[in-house]
Subunit: 204 residues, 2 copies
DNA sequence: ATCACTACCTACCAGTAGGTAGGCAAATGA
DNA sequence: TCATTTGCCTACCTACTGGTAGGTAGTGAT
C-alpha cells in the first residue's frame, strides 16, 4: 500500500513485472515466491491468489514474453525491403528489441541453457518457423550472389549467439570492456560493430 | 560400492565429477547436495565429510575448471604462429577445448549470466588479461593491414558469443538444426563455418 | 592391543520452500 | 440492503534444504 502503490497497473501486472525482474536476475530456482511478493508489497498467499502456482506464474510470464517478441519481430520481418538492407533492418530491429527488454533476453538464455527445463513450452519449436524462413532468405541471397556463400544454418546460429550474448552476459561483458552498464551508447556501438562485421563477411 | 565402484577415481574426484554434471545441467540453486551424493552413491553427510559446504564444493570445482582452461588455452596462445594463422589456431583450440568440456561451458555461461553471483571469484578479472592481449593482437593486425578494420573489443565479444553459445545452448540449437546432440561431425562443421565466417570478415 | 584416522552411516536440527485453510474488510451488484 | 465477490491477510502444513552430532567399521602404525 504505502510501498509501491501505483494505482495504474493492476496487482497482477505488478506481480508479472516483479517476477520478470527476479527470474531474469536469479533464475527460476533462485527466485522464491516470497521474493516476488515482497517486491510487490504483498504476502506470498496473496500472490497465490492471482496465480495458482509458481510454475503457472512462470508460464504466463514466458508466454507474454514470447508473444511480445514474435509480434515485434514479425513486423520488421514482414517489411518489403530486400537484399542486405533487409538483413540490416532485422538485425537493427533485433538489437532494439533486446535493448528494450534485457530481462526477457536473460530469461530466454536461461531457458535455452536448461533446454526447456521447467516448462512444457518447446522454445525451439516456436522459433523454428522463423529460423527456417531466415535460412530460405539467406540461401536465396547466396544463390543470387548478393551474399558470399556460407552455411546459412550455422550462420544464423552464429548471429544468434553474437547478439544474444551481448545482452544476456551484460554484467560480465561490461567488466571486460571496463565500461559500466548497457548504456544506449554502448548498445549502439555494439550494434554498429555487429552490422559492420556481418556486412564485411557477407558482402564482397 | 555396488553402484559405481570404479576403484580408480577417489570419492572426492567422483563427487567433483558428479557435481560438475549437476551444476552444469540444473545450475547451482537447482542442484541439491542430495542429488550429487546420490549420483556418487553416498549420503549427503558423507559428501560433507569431503567438502565443508556446498559453496566450497562449487568453489573447488570452479577453480579446477578455470585452471584447466587457462592451462590449455595458454599453450595455443603462446605458439609462435602469426597473422591469420594464429587467429585460426586459437579459434580451433577454443573449439576443441569447449567440445572436450561442454559441462564447463555451461557452468561458465551460468556464471556469466548471474554476474559472478554465488561466488567471490571475479570471472572477468581472470579473463581480462587474455582479453586485453587479444585486443592488442587484433589492433596490430589491423594496423598492419593483415585484417580489415573493426573494433577489436567488440569483435572479441562477438566471437566469444558466437563460439560459447554453440556449446552452452546445445540442446536448443540441436533442435533448431534438427540434428541430435553435439556429435563430433556437428562440432567440426560449426567450427569450420565460424572460421570461414571470420576469415571472410577479417581478410580482404 | 590400542590409538588415531578415514570414510561412511543414521538421526537430527533450524530454516525455508511452495501451497492451503480460513477469516476479514472493502467493493460490487441485484 | 444484503449477498457475493475480490483482494488481501495470518496461521498453518508438508517436503526438502544445507549442515551438525555422534556413532561405527576398517586400516595402519606404534
Amino acid at each position: 500500500m504505502t510501498d509501491a502503490p501505483d494505482p495504474q497497473r493492476s496487482t497482477r501486472d505488478q506481480i508479472l513485472d516483479e517476477a520478470l525482474k527476479c527470474f531474469a536476475e536469479r533464475g527460476y530456482d533462485g527466485t522464491s515466491l516470497n521474493d516476488i511478493a515482497a517486491g510487490v508489497g504483498i504476502r506470498r498467499p496473496s500472490l497465490l491468489h492471482h496465480f495458482p502456482s509458481k510454475e503457472s506464474l512462470y508460464e504466463d510470464l514466458f508466454e507474454r514474453l514470447l508473444s511480445d517478441w514474435m509480434q515485434r519481430l514479425e513486423a520488421s520481418i514482414a517489411s518489403p525491403v530486400s537484399g542486405w538492407d533487409k538483413a540490416e533492418l532485422v538485425l537493427r530491429a533485433g538489437f532494439a528489441l533486446f535493448a528494450d527488454t534485457p530481462d526477457y533476453v536473460r530469461i530466454m538464455r536461461r531457458e535455452a541453457l536448461d533446454g526447456g527445463g521447467h516448462l512444457g513450452i518447446d522454445l525451439s519449436a516456436v522459433l523454428k518457423p522463423l529460423f527456417d524462413s531466415a535460412v530460405v532468405y539467406f540461401d536465396e541471397q547466396m544463390r543470387n550472389g548478393t551474399f558470399r556463400t556460407h552455411d546459412s544454418r550455422h550462420l544464423l546460429i552464429t548471429g544468434y549467439g553474437a547478439i544474444l550474448t551481448y545482452f544476456s552476459d551484460a554484467p560480465f561483458i561490461d567488466e571486460l570492456l571496463e565500461d559500466k552498464a548497457l548504456t544506449a551508447q554502448n548498445v549502439h556501438d555494439h550494434c554498429e560493430h555487429v552490422i559492420g562485421f556481418f556486412r564485411a563477411a557477407l558482402l564482397n
